[in-house]
Symmetry: C2
Subunit: 193 residues, 2 copies
């Protein structure tokens, strides 16, 4: 995605310790055209990777919601976002798994109701960043517990230097990122590909 | 919005103490067609209310993100969602205000970076529920602090029995909800209008 690459080059910032500041277009402000195009790009790339018959998009709050929603729009299937705290309305059976948030430096538990994920589903997991893959592995575990089939993982930005792709390699499914960031200049700046 | 009314009647549930379980289409699972149509419905209703020249949509994480994003798509303007915890990337100047979350029974502080809201902006605040208006009033306060002009408030579902509309009346701007819920049968069930 050329527009995404340009946006990252112009408006993202490397803060050190693995943290990319992408609040101008992912984690705080969202640009409608760019965000909608992310959904279309994911749909096309997964189609080209031979992924068909998706019934549901799965993500985790907070910053996964927008990219997952635009993929749901592009594929016309429901999206479910894992909650990080169990809200008062979350009654009934649920799946859960633990993850660790890098940008908030805390352990979290992800919850998805068993009403919205089950053995009949063929699922794509979509998130904003592929970093250490901690959140993604928690979502993978929830999808497995539900009996649904996981068909692919998509992330807007992959931090190649954090090894998340290797963490997910044993799944043997397409892992698609729309842009990939690598550190250069002894970790002081980054390049986008 | 007839499709929303039908969805609420078929899939929402009143849990008591003011809490509506709407996780099948707002707070946990999102239906792409219905969600996209919410954005179009808000855009049309604000236009009919004489609201023009909007430059930015403002909401709060978590459940406000989806309805605010679809309004941003319908109006082709950026959206910014207030964060409830200050993430590591949130450096620089910011606006903040306190609110109380009903479904999570805790006080929260909302943060918006001063890079994404300012005196040149004409703003719509969009959220999932209009209940006691605690979150909405915090967003109103942030918009005022930023120097932006607030042109309207839109909520997917209004809980008429919680008085939020009255809390916002002094703003003298259009307050639009796509569906309105009232309690009947001595608070044991609800009707949608």
């Amino acid at each position: 995605m050329k527009a995404l690459k340009t946006e990252i080059e112009n408006n993202a910032q490397y803060l050190g310790e693995g943290i990319i500041k992408a609040d101008a277009f992912i984690n705080h402000q969202l640009l409608p055209g760019l965000t909608t195009d992310m959904g279309l790009a994911f749909a096309e790339k997964f189609k080209n990777a031979g992924v068909t018959g998706i019934t549901r998009i799965v993500t985790a709050e907070v910053s996964g919601i927008a990219p997952a929603l635009v993929v749901a729009q592009a594929m016309d299937v429901p999206m479910v976002f894992a909650r990080k705290k169990k809200p008062a309305f979350m009654t009934g059976g649920l799946f859960s798994a633990h993850a660790r948030s890098r940008t908030k430096a805390e352990a979290v538990t992800l919850y998805i109701s068993d009403r919205f994920l089950g053995p009949g589903d063929k699922v794509l997991i979509i998130d904003d960043f592929l970093a250490t893959a901690s959140t993604l592995k928690a979502l993978v575990s929830i999808v497995a517990d539900s009996g649904a089939q996981l068909a692919g993982v998509g992330c807007v930005i992959e931090k190649a230097f954090e090894g998340g792709r290797e963490q997910l390699a044993s799944l043997d499914i397409p892992i698609i990122s729309l842009a990939c960031i690598d550190l250069v200049d002894q970790g002081k700046s980054f390049i986008v590909s």
